[in-house]
Symmetry: C2
Subunit: 419 residues, 2 copies
């Protein structure tokens, strides 16, 4: 089976001058990969006709599919549609259904339709129009010399909708794609290079059809096995067997044997045990609560949080006595322990996580340098504390503290509740 | 003056299969742009020798500077260094200073140095080694046929350090760069296309040396003027004059006339007035507290938050009477108002923000569909409420609710405190 390959061309000066972080390409890459299409190259070019034409010519030489995002919006710097007309020898015409969509969206918002919004309904006359249910700019599908092209708006939720609803089904209809099998696991508390040592022999022994990827993120590593083949059922079985081997090798540090985040793993664990949790956050400033509540259904397990940035908040809301804070300091094992037990009581939960630390750039001292974080986890019958020392910038220290605190709770729940 | 252009080549399968979001390129683009280098193209390729060589050849044809990131790490899929050796006709040799650095880092962490970590100290013998103070993989600087190349590790904080400390100074020493002047302002509460209408004549009248960029993000738009010229002082003056014109046109919706975020603008405003703030967050789940506390120095203004996910938390910690919740519902003007006044009292602040809503995907009803959010802001003498209706997914609804709540507070403070 011939490998089907794709390229992404993202268009916009804002990507080149770094004003926008390109999250679209990651999503498109994931979806293509899951569908069995190998994304061979991603290119970002500015809002310049020559650059766009050059990228289209280059990428269509090497690939079967070219996905174009960005530059379909209403502002003046958008020149993607005229460039596409040049490339495909097309002219712009008004698409009636797209026009109806634009008008409806503005009516619903109670806003007048202005000239530049109407232009969103103009499309090259040689394309198949992909109607956009989430916004005003339609997607455009072209075919030329055995290569297919899909041009999508750059607004992430519009792009995602069009890709999943229209582009992927059209790609599946147009190409014969291999079967793909993925299995992912999540590891916490062990670095990428240490894991690599532990599983070196396993990795070397993998057959060519199964690949291993390391996906490091804050304080965690995801390991993903990807198999590609012609027969879906036997491929699934092969990947599953290798995945079991891998799980056995990293069992000690494995947080989840599926592609979920640590907050999801913690919520699932508590849900399964019928337990609730609260947080008392000083240095993490609500980051743990934010992570947990970003997951739908968190309210079944998470009662709430106290972000006790001031010492008065620790005393008033969490019942930490003022003397403890004066005597040991806000960043201390004693204070963070009382914050955790206080949060359990104040928010009426089975478990609580508390954090107190110095995130930087200011506030460090020789005894408690920037990056010092005390974490406590409290349960119905016991309490556990841990001191972390991070050495990064404020943003990263906060992320690491939040992730490590969640993992401390996870281990504590597993060990005190039994598995 | 000849324009100096650059390309970024990011290397790694993880970027193509979408497992990593490329934040490095945005940072590099910003820094190059500030230095007067035009980033012409960004390319991402997989961990494949041919692909890397092809990208190097292509990008060096069109550009003066090629920045390469990724693929210098310790795991087996890293093949960047061998590919660079091929391209530059070099061989790998151990660099003594890099080796000392690797050993020191592992000693400090109390971990054994393993074989694959030692390989991090190997460098092509034709390069200038850029020592890495933040990690084990050094940066590599090459020159060939009037093009300069810098290969940097993909770990963001290591890449940033090497770029700022070593690569940019070397680029400034190597090329004659134009003067660059930037001015940015932040707008809330007005969409990109409406702003575009309002400033259409201004934009058309801009001289070719000054460009305007729209940088939309959740609920906000940043407008940035960038001027490029030979004489720094007159350029600054030209851009400043245009910026004053622009400010006058969008004054009504302008949050800040500098490149700061909304949370930063809110903290600065409260700091200037000597006031404090707290949040009582139901549907935003700590997102507002997280935004405020991500900024260094937030503790001077922000006392804390109650994330009242359960109704008991609203009653116990914020003093919302149970009857109000039963009678009007948790998502109601009445409940959110009491949450705001309760947070002011509980956290002893001048101001408080409260949020309660339905973020989805579940929990909506015909009267209160998903996306319904009540926000209240309370001050020493008055209270203001606003009902928002968002229509996106959970993540985006939370972001929008948090941003809009902060902006509601900002306007409330300005109007009640006087400007």
């Amino acid at each position: 089976m011939k490998e089907v390959t794709a390229a992404i061309i993202t268009i916009g000066d804002e990507l080149l001058i770094g004003q926008t972080i390109d999250t679209n390409s990651a999503f498109i890459g994931q979806e293509l990969n899951k569908a069995g299409v190998w994304l061979k190259r991603r290119v970002a070019v500015g809002d310049a006709r020559e650059e766009i034409l050059d990228a289209l010519a280059q990428q269509s030489r090497d690939n079967d599919i070219v996905i174009i995002t960005g530059g379909l919006g209403p502002t003046a710097d958008d020149i993607t549609k005229p460039a596409l007309c040049d490339y495909f020898g097309a002219s712009l015409v008004v698409d009636d259904e797209a026009l109806r969509n634009v008008t409806e969206i503005f009516n619903r918002l109670g806003k007048p339709v202005i000239e530049r919004n109407l232009k969103q309904a103009e499309v090259p006359d040689t394309c198949t129009v992909l109607q956009n249910k989430r916004g005003t700019a339609p997607g455009l599908w072209f075919e030329k010399d055995a290569v297919v092209y899909a041009a999508l708006p750059g607004v992430p939720h519009e792009m995602k909708g069009l890709l999943v609803d229209s582009v992927l089904p059209m790609i599946r209809g147009r190409f014969t794609l291999p079967a793909i099998a993925h299995r992912t696991l999540l590891i916490a508390g062990k670095g990428e290079s240490e894991i690599a040592e532990i599983i070196a022999a396993f990795e070397t022994a993998l057959p060519p059809a199964i690949k291993l990827a390391y996906l490091p993120s804050y304080g965690m590593v995801r390991l993903r096995l990807t198999g590609k083949g012609e027969d879906g059922a036997s491929l699934e079985a092969d990947v599953a067997a290798r995945f079991d081997e891998l799980k056995a090798l990293v069992a000690e540090w494995m947080v989840a044997d599926e592609d979920i985040s640590l907050p999801q793993a913690v919520l699932s664990l508590l849900h399964a045990k019928g337990k609730t949790v609260a947080t008392a956050e000083s240095c993490t400033g609500g980051a743990i609560a934010r992570m947990l509540t970003s997951i739908a259904g968190a309210s079944a397990v998470f009662n709430g949080a106290v972000v006790s940035y001031s010492n008065a908040a620790k005393t008033d809301l969490l019942g930490v006595d003022a003397e403890t804070i004066v005597r040991y300091g806000a960043v201390s094992e004693e204070t963070v322990s009382k914050m955790a037990t206080g949060a359990r009581a104040a928010l009426r939960t089975d478990y609580a996580i508390a954090t107190s630390g110095i995130m930087g750039p200011e506030g460090g001292s020789p005894e408690k340098p920037v990056g010092t974080v005390w974490v406590a986890v409290a349960g119905p019958e016991s309490l556990r504390t841990h001191k972390f020392s991070f050495r990064f910038d404020r943003t990263r220290n906060i992320e690491l503290a939040a992730q490590n605190a969640l993992n401390l709770l996870r281990r504590f729940v597993l060990e005190t509740e039994g598995e």
